[in-house]
């Protein structure tokens, strides 16, 4: 593992007009890692990811990706640089087919042959998507939509994948499946993952390190195992 973080936030502030959602977030993600951000509803987890992606503008502080400041990079440029997000609530394109959703993941790429190969590869990784390839995205089940959202993001060939609550609204057995896929992407494809979750237990088991966010600030940061055994965390986020 190299010593330079692939993604780093330095004292980042952002928000929605007068609402200050982030009040100085600092975090580091090393290449090849899975890092988890946990926190209650409305703590600012999604805002953190949206700020990294440029959808929410940075008001103060710096976001560094591969050592370069990306505060001012427009959101549509980031996938070309290898930074992609699977947003909260999946947000697949409901009236486009599974195939077309995947094509849109490869929107910035023009290597049609390789794109077709990558789509085939997605179908191998998620066989259910292959079966449903001409079906409209909106007609898939929640778990299938989550897989489609992940597969779509992988089509951008990311180096860093931001995942926002992939377990949201899914049955436990599906959640386990999704987390297996996440580990697989990390281990086999070497994709660095920044994972936002309310399901702290699962997230910390998958991750190597974790950050706890409360009302727009990082209140705790540690190895995932240490956080799992931290009594405060167990009380606040693991319901014990």
């Amino acid at each position: 593992m190299s010593t330079q973080p692939i993604l780093e936030l330095k004292n980042v502030h952002s928000g929605y007009g007068s609402i200050k959602a982030l009040k100085g977030i600092s975090l580091k993600v090393m290449p090849g890692e899975i890092v988890a951000i946990i926190g209650a509803n409305g703590a600012g987890k999604s805002t953190t990811l949206m700020t990294i992606c440029g959808i929410v503008k940075v008001e103060k502080g710096e976001i560094l990706y591969q050592g370069k400041v990306i505060n001012k990079v427009p959101p549509e440029k980031l996938p070309t640089m290898g930074l992609c997000q699977v947003p909260e609530g999946r947000r697949i394109f409901p009236r486009l087919t599974v195939m077309e959703n995947l094509r849109l993941g490869a929107f910035y790429r023009d290597d049609t042959n390789q794109i077709m190969k990558d789509i085939q590869y997605s179908y191998e990784m998620f066989p259910i998507l292959g079966e449903r390839k001409s079906q409209k995205g909106g007609t898939l089940s929640g778990g299938e939509q989550q897989m489609l959202a992940i597969a779509r993001a992988l089509m951008t060939k990311p180096k860093v994948l931001l995942l926002d609550e992939p377990s949201l609204g899914l049955a436990p057995i599906i959640v386990q499946q999704i987390f297996d896929i996440i580990s697989q992407i990390n281990k086999e494809e070497g994709v660095t993952i920044l994972l936002v979750e309310q399901n702290a237990n699962l997230a910390l088991q998958a991750a190597s390190r974790g950050y706890v966010v409360e009302t727009g600030e990082i209140t705790l940061e540690d190895e995932a195992q240490a956080l799992l055994s931290n009594s405060k965390i167990r009380e606040a986020y693991l319901g014990e």
């Binding site: 549509e76 486009l96 077309e100």
Partner: protein, 408 residues
């Protein structure tokens, strides 16, 4: 059947009473302040009788007593459907093209005139379809670009004497520029806000046309616009070209047909290109599209500009045919009309739009005798449509049709 009747008689009775309440102010209150009930009751009784018969037939059908008639009919309809979908698309296209090519030979002036109108609106509808159907931006001021195109030709022709063929691309250009100018500030908005702002901008352009006396001659409009000049080969003294003014209606028809075909091909190609894919992703979910690397602002602006270009071309042709333009031709009602055509036919579907335009232009012509009830019939048709075919007459087909997908 009696049971079914018991279920529906209450809402039916309420509906009819409500209709009576609606009809009376329309028919029974006169401008001089007097009120009568006679005509209202007569009209209402006819509607009551008619709808009651329909209701009874419907109830009989629901209770299944009509199976012996309904079954063969539905089977026949099913047969027609399967054969029509079995026919490949190119058969449909050639059939429609051949019909369009020989159509003017069969009808007189009037029929050709209506057909030219249909073709013009097809052009407009296809342009608006790019904005509304593909990119998903509700544009209520679309007709303004039609006006810009028409006025560009009118002004360039009457004051500078420029010919139609020079002005046609210029009209497209000015409409495109107008589209970008309007689009640039408005496209940052989404949904309802965008609709209202485009409505406002459409009105602003119309008001400019109405009030800029020096340039547009205000509400009086511009007269004396030259028709389309064409060069035809003449074989008298050797082989030369001679300049003609297009006067025959049939020539206009073929020109409009050409314009509509070009528009259809352009929209079809755009739809199945990378650009079309970007537009559809924006329509579906703008933020997700942005996260996937689509420059939403540029593509939205492009959709707006493309739509405006088609409107500009149609506008120049309109000015050349009418040889007169005035701001009255470009009111909000026209925008609403084109939007209705697109929605009625099926957003995003080219055959749907053609059918929608034909329905909304041709039907009012057929029902000319009922002139004063036109809007009523129009409204009723829209309501019935939305109930029975909410995705339009011919909804867009969207199952794995993109060219490169066949390999996949």
């Amino acid at each position: 059947m009696i049971q079914e009747f018991k279920k529906v008689w209450k809402p039916y009775a309420i509906g009819m009473l409500w209709l009576l309440g609606l009809l009376w102010p329309l028919l029974g209150v006169h401008p001089d302040g007097t009120m009568t009930f006679q005509t209202t009751f007569i009209v209402w009784r006819y509607i009551l009788a008619g709808s009651f018969v329909c209701l009874i037939i419907y109830l009989i059908k629901v209770s299944g007593s009509l199976k012996f008639i309904a079954d063969p009919i539905s089977r026949a309809v099913g047969n027609i459907k399967t054969t029509s979908t079995a026919l490949p698309t190119w058969v449909w296209i050639t059939a429609v093209l051949i019909f369009a090519l020989i159509y003017p030979q069969f009808t007189g002036r009037y029929g050709t005139d209506v057909a030219i109108n249909v073709l013009l609106y097809i052009c407009l509808g296809l342009g608006l379809n790019v904005v509304v159907g593909l990119a998903g931006m509700l544009d209520l001021g679309y007709i303004a670009f039609y006006g810009v195109g028409a006025y560009t030709y009118a002004i360039l022709n009457t004051t500078y004497g420029l010919g139609f063929w020079v002005c046609l691309p210029l009209s497209a250009l000015t409409a495109c520029i107008a589209g970008c100018i309007v689009g640039y500030p408005t496209l940052r908005m989404r949904g309802d806000y965008l609709a209202i702002v485009t409505l406002g901008f459409g009105e602003i352009i119309r008001i400019i046309l109405n009030n800029w006396m020096e340039l547009t001659n205000g509400p009086n409009g511009i007269l004396g616009i030259k028709s389309i000049g064409i060069f035809l080969p003449v074989f008298e003294n050797g082989f030369t070209f001679e300049h003609f003014w297009m006067k025959k209606l049939q020539l206009f028809y073929y020109f409009a047909l050409g314009l509509a075909i070009v528009a259809a091909i352009c929209v079809q190609r755009l739809n199945f290109s990378r650009v079309g894919r970007a537009w559809e992703s924006i329509r579906e979910d703008e933020t997700a599209a942005e996260l996937m690397g689509v420059n939403t602002f540029i593509y939205k602006l492009l959709a707006y500009a493309m739509g405006a270009i088609f409107a500009g071309l149609a506008g120049a042709f309109f000015a050349a045919r009418m040889r007169f333009v005035s701001p009255e031709s470009f009111t909000f009602l026209e925008s609403a009309m084109v939007l209705c055509m697109v929605v009625l036919g099926g957003m995003g579907s080219i055959p749907g739009i053609i059918l929608g335009v034909a329905a909304l232009i041709a039907l009012p012509e057929i029902f000319r005798e009922f002139e004063s009830y036109r809007m009523l019939i129009f409204g009723a048709t829209m309501v019935i449509m939305m109930l029975f075919r909410p995705a339009g007459l011919i909804p867009a087909k969207r199952v794995g049709t993109r060219s490169e997908e066949k390999e996949g």
